[in-house]
């Protein structure tokens, strides 16, 4: 099926096809449309999901946690402050090993309050034990949400999954996308039949103990092992998904990286802009390339190191600040991934696009210019700068 849908509608449509048992619903721009669409599906009898209109995102995640623990497949959607309000219970979801699926429509965090896109919300939740998969466009937003279900629910994983798309840029822009047939989706995601759950008659279950030091660490290690195991499961699911959709996905996408000497590493919709810039530079004979990270948790460390091994200079583009005074979170991960390479490329970090600040192909071309210079001179200059801000001299 070919359709013209916004990113939000695409995810809502995925939810309709999944027909989850439970959804927690609370509005926040720019994810609000997702629960709105689902409310209409419920009203029209197109799904028989138990749709719980909670009084906050904290409760929305709490409802999903409890429902999933009780044996139900649960989903929800949020953005920005909503995700931040869930912060405490995101850990509870992951540590209880509950494969909830959450659509995070990325938006800047307050303050100051700002409704536009950056990645500070989901990056703030990167260490909560959730799998994180980011979309570049509407098609990926739809596909990722569907793939999240069999990834999270696999017995080797049993972790919640956050699928992220860029607020407004992806969530509100209407694009042509390919939808799957519902029966194909149902077969792909399978029935949710957990082994143990609160409502199981034969065997009462207790969830969420007070855990003392002789056990807590073992439980955390199990959770960490599950996150490691998720990598293989993600690749299994993407392979299965390719068979039914014809669309290929990996842990990240390499764009013109075969012989690239200068490369960018980034996440999300800006990949579209970056690809256009790469194409233009390639026409001029510059060996430019791009790595678009799709799976941020688990972080594809070895794979990324391999992909960047042949490059001379790399710019990581972080769409969130991080306030570490040492670069953004994607930079920290990438730099750590490259540490074990015998010969490492030069590496810089560009924080960009905060609160919806635009980035265009010229900005990216300019950045490649800087990389070319670094590759030749070996002079990195400032390691970590901000792109496109007006108050300081633009360094990128």
């Amino acid at each position: 099926m070919n359709n013209c849908l916004s990113g939000n509608e695409a995810v809502a449509y995925a939810i309709k096809q999944i027909n989850p048992d439970v959804m927690g619903a609370f509005p926040i721009t720019p994810s609000t449309e997702i629960p709105q669409y689902v409310a209409q599906y419920v009203a029209d009898g197109e799904v028989n999901t138990e749709y719980v209109t909670v009084e906050s995102e904290h409760s929305s995640m709490s409802v999903c946690i409890a429902a999933q623990a009780a044996g139900a497949r649960s989903v929800c959607a949020t953005s920005s402050c909503g995700l931040a309000l869930m912060y405490e219970v995101l850990y509870v979801a992951a540590s209880c090993r509950l494969p909830i699926t959450l659509a995070c429509v990325n938006r800047a965090l307050s303050g100051p309050i700002n409704i536009n896109n950056d990645h500070s919300d989901s990056m703030g939740a990167r260490d909560t034990g959730w799998i994180q998969i980011y979309a570049e466009n509407n098609q990926e937003a739809y596909d990722n949400f569907l793939m999240a279900v069999p990834i999270g629910e696999a017995p080797s994983v049993r972790l919640p999954v956050m699928t992220c798309m860029d607020g407004f840029i992806t969530s509100h822009a209407v694009e042509n996308i390919e939808l799957m047939e519902t029966d194909v989706v149902r077969k792909f995601i399978r029935e949710y039949n957990p082994e143990n759950y609160l409502l199981k008659k034969e065997n009462p279950l207790a969830v969420g103990p007070y855990d003392v030091s002789p056990y807590y660490m073992e439980h955390k290690v199990l959770e960490a092992e599950a996150m490691k195991a998720a990598k293989a499961r993600i690749l299994e699911v993407t392979a299965e998904f390719e068979k039914i959709s014809g669309r290929h996905y990996g842990l990240f996408e390499e764009y013109r990286m075969e012989d690239a000497e200068l490369a960018l590493v980034l996440i999300g919709s800006s990949a579209g802009t970056a690809k256009a810039a790469v194409d233009k530079l390639r026409e001029d004979g510059i060996k430019a390339g791009l790595v678009k990270i799709r799976v941020f948790r688990p972080f594809p460390s070895e794979e990324l190191a391999r992909a960047l091994a042949g490059t001379k200079a790399v710019a990581v583009m972080d769409k969130s600040e991080g306030f570490s005074a040492n670069g953004g979170p994607l930079f920290a991960e990438t730099r750590s991934a490259l540490y074990d390479l015998k010969e490492r490329p030069y590496l810089i970090d560009i924080v960009f696009g905060l609160g919806g600040r635009d980035v265009n192909t010229e900005d990216i071309e300019k950045l490649f210019g800087r990389l070319a210079n670094i590759a030749v001179t070996g002079e990195i200059g400032p390691v970590y700068t901000h792109m496109g801000q007006r108050s300081k001299e633009e360094k990128a």
């Binding site: 028989n48 719980v52 946690i65 999933q68 009780a70 207790a206 969830v207």
Partner: protein
Amino acid sequence: MSTVYNLKREAEKPARLTGGHRLCAGCGAGIVVSGVLRALDKEDRAVVVNATSCLEVSTFMYPYTAYMDSYIHSAFENSAATCSGVIAAYNALKRRGKVEGTVKFITFGGDGGTYDIGLQSLSGAMERGHDMVYVCYDNEAYMNTGIQRSSSTPHFARTTTTPVGSVGQGKKQNKKDLTEILVAHNIPYIAQTAPIGNFKDLHTKSYKAIYTKGPCFLNVLSPCPRGWDYPTEKLAEVAMLAVDTCVWPLYEVEEGVWRLTYIPKKKLPVEDFLRLQGRFRHMFQKGNEWMIEEAQAYVDQKWERLLERTGA
């Protein structure tokens, strides 16, 4: 089943909260919880939801659970939302033929988890109308973290954040009336009770709350020997005095109709209740008589209002 209360028959039911939990000796919480759960019909299953609290850390310390039924704890402020989620799952799975039999949903939160940090979650769940019982076991302070004041702590009570000193005289504010806040939600059944006598009041109200359709709320006074500073063996006496002094009146509001369920034969002076407890000791020092007078005046005024409301 006979609806006439019979302690012996009730006590013979298999306990749903087993012994071996780690609540302090003389703690009211264990008695309240086992009393409420005992009201479940034998053949019915339950899912117990619990907010972070003394009760939670004492009854489900990994790998031991004291509950015979399924149980979930998630966090401090979200127990009502958690119960909503379990019920949502029940409705969904029932509709899809994946769960059989009757399951009842009972949430326990302390006063901190109910009057304070969990009030929003509770209000939301009550307004949405989930078929649950929310039980606040009210020991009038944050006991699990070492006796800090909550909005349920009564006027003048000494806690670790309302200490008594040369200037400080315990808590400055009156106790929040949570039961009335719940009445304002227009839910089918609300009651205030306490573990006294042969537990008939606690049992009857628990049974009604569990078997009334829709959201129901019980506020149960739950004495804490550590926080209230009284000898452990005086649990029953302290609870009885709270009721006989009208500090903690027993009443219910069923479909909007207020009813007193216990009228003391002789309304005792508030100081009889206060005197037993170290948290009020400073009120009995010379020069502090006004505190006892104020406490008495507050109780009298609340009691008069309750008499009017209940038409007693």
